[in-house]
């Protein structure tokens, strides 16, 4: 069925109706989350008690808004820190990987490439526990042998960053490799002919060409880190990132405060997505 082949009207209408229903299904959960952020009630459910901004700006119990709720603000800060660290690390390593696979033919290249893809097909929770197990055995080993307590290897932000980095790097590598493959290497050779050394040629010719992909990878890595739940759940210490903090609250019972946080998250990520699209356009 393509537009150039005539089809009966009924089939066409049914098809279009299905597509409309599908998009309603996609939008519905997000729409209700957003709408109930403004409900003047203790519960994010019907009946509708009237419109309020209190779940954003409220200062007094029982309606403390997002902007006055310390726990949530701190969790947002933690998530932003983790996201920025993961993005920086994974894009740096991803760029290096992309150059390695694009520029060098070596023994074991195929094996390494498959190994590099593996984190995508390992369940997040398994990645989390394996890193937890390994770092604990290293920490225990250090304690038993030299009586040094490696606080850094106990559940906490460092492990969360490493855990997320372990699979997000695969994605940044793929994103950056895709663009590097399209690069015309004669441009680099031209720079070499004009007297630049290798490093200068890469820095002034190849890297600017890769920039859109690298910025895209930063945004994707940051968002994936911000959203990550499974791996983080197993590695988290006392500083909970936002998804974990929200999960703990949701288990206790939800107030529209969570809707307000969610709405802010939606706005934040759409803004990031728009920035990324704008960058991609310019390139």
């Amino acid at each position: 069925m393509i537009p150039s082949i005539p089809q009966s009207r009924m089939i066409r209408t049914a098809y279009t109706a299905y597509i409309v229903l599908f998009f309603l299904y996609l939008a519905l959960p997000l729409a209700v989350v957003a709408a109930f952020a403004f409900n003047d009630s203790q519960f994010p459910s019907l009946p509708w008690e009237g419109f309020t901004w209190n779940w954003f700006f409220g200062e007094e119990r029982p309606m403390i808004g997002v902007f006055h709720e310390r726990g949530i603000l701190r969790a947002i800060g933690t998530s932003a820190f983790v996201g920025a660290s993961v993005a920086a690390l994974s894009v740096a390593v991803g760029t290096s990987n992309a150059f390695l696979f694009n520029r060098y033919q070596f023994r074991g290249r195929g094996v390494l490439y498959v190994l590099m893809l593996l984190p995508l097909v390992i369940p997040g929770i398994v990645l989390g526990i394996s890193i937890l197990v390994f770092s604990s055995s290293v920490a225990n080993g250090l304690w038993d042998s030299v009586k040094y307590d490696a606080e850094i290897l106990r559940p906490g932000l460092v492990l969360v960053v490493l855990g997320q980095f372990s699979f997000i790097t695969t994605i940044t590598t793929l994103v950056i490799s895709a663009r590097l493959q399209k690069f015309d290497r004669t441009l680099e050779e031209a720079a070499l002919n004009l007297g630049a050394d290798r490093l200068t040629a890469v820095r002034t010719v190849t890297l600017p060409y890769l920039m859109p992909a690298m910025i895209g990878a930063v945004v994707v890595a940051f968002l994936m880190s911000f959203e990550n739940f499974n791996t983080t759940l197993m590695l988290v210490g006392s500083d909970a990132p936002l998804t974990i903090a929200m999960f703990d609250r949701l288990k206790e019972g939800s107030t529209p405060l969570l809707n307000a946080v969610s709405l802010l998250l939606m706005l934040g990520s759409s803004l990031l997505a728009l920035v990324m699209i704008a960058f991609q356009r310019k390139a």
Partner: protein, 285 residues
């Protein structure tokens, strides 16, 4: 010059090896070793298969394992069936601006955290939720209906959460199918159904395979959706792993569970790739 190239090669190789060896390979070996350890006394351990014995011996564990696998396969199939017509519409029916707008719309829900999406379904499905109120208002039911905390609610959540990972690869592969090929199919006397079966689906196979693998993995490894939307009977295997590690502090058994989950997912991914003649490099890379 040659030396410089060599140096560059090792400089680029080091971060890759550090990442893969320290964060992927050794941790998994360590986890496998831990799962083979049995506590025989205070601070004393012996190598044995006891943890796997517990896993295969206890019906609850085995049952949860199989159920999680079956439900994940089901979630993958439902996602594929829902996503295919939509992807086909975006790739072949829509044109120009509509096409890119629809594609972007598909992506939007996935820019927000899975937690928010799950929360949305909780608001819709719970006893005081939107659907229940709507049904009462329409006079179809007398009292509030609880639609949350059962397998169906969990399935809705799982399918919703992984939809994007099916739509994107499908749209990409379907877009590369030339309209002329479809027209030729019709010219040669094919019906809509036979064109779909003999031209469109074979062409979309790489997309179907990679989408299915990702969706299956995401469902299998999901913790949030079964915990929040599923009921008492819809225990998910990841919940068992979590409780062994964090609640009971029995890491040995938890590691064995983790390893079983890893084996299950590897077998299914490998089997799917073999059956359809695809490779991991082609479908993921």
């Amino acid at each position: 010059m040659r030396n410089q190239a060599r140096l560059g090669f090792y400089l680029l190789l080091t971060p890759l090896l550090l990442w893969l060896i320290l964060l992927i390979v050794i941790p998994h070996i360590d986890m496998a070793l831990l799962s083979l350890r049995e506590r025989v006394g205070v601070g004393k351990y012996a190598t044995s298969m006891a943890n796997y014995g517990t896993f295969f011996g206890e019906p609850l564990y085995m049952w949860t394992f199989l159920r999680t696998a079956m439900m994940s396969v089901l979630a993958t199939l439902i996602t594929l069936i829902i996503a295919f017509p939509v992807s086909y519409y975006i790739a072949k029916m829509a044109r120009g601006r509509t096409q890119s707008a629809l594609f972007l719309l598909c992506l939007v829900p996935f820019w927000v955290s899975e937690l928010v999406r799950t929360f949305g379904w909780m608001i819709l499905l719970r006893e005081t939720g939107l659907f229940s109120t709507l049904l009462q208002w329409a006079g179809l039911v007398d009292g509030p209906v609880e639609m949350l905390y059962n397998d169906a609610a969990m399935m809705v959540g799982l399918v919703y959460t992984s939809m994007l990972f099916m739509v994107v690869p499908l749209v990409t592969t379907l877009e590369s199918l030339d309209d002329a090929v479809i027209e030729a199919g019709y010219d040669l006397g094919g019906s809509g159904f036979s064109v779909l079966r003999e031209i469109v689906i074979p062409h979309a196979m790489p997309g179907i395979v990679s989408g299915s693998i990702v969706v299956f993995m995401l469902s299998l490894g999901n913790y949030l959706t079964p915990t929040m939307l599923g009921g008492k009977d819809s225990l998910w295997f990841t919940e068992l792993i979590y409780s062994q590690f964090i609640v009971r502090f029995n890491w040995e058994l938890g590691a064995a569970f983790g390893f079983m989950l890893l084996i299950l997912s590897s077998v299914i991914v490998w089997g799917t790739l073999r059956l359809t003649g695809q490779t991991l490099e082609k479908t993921m890379g």
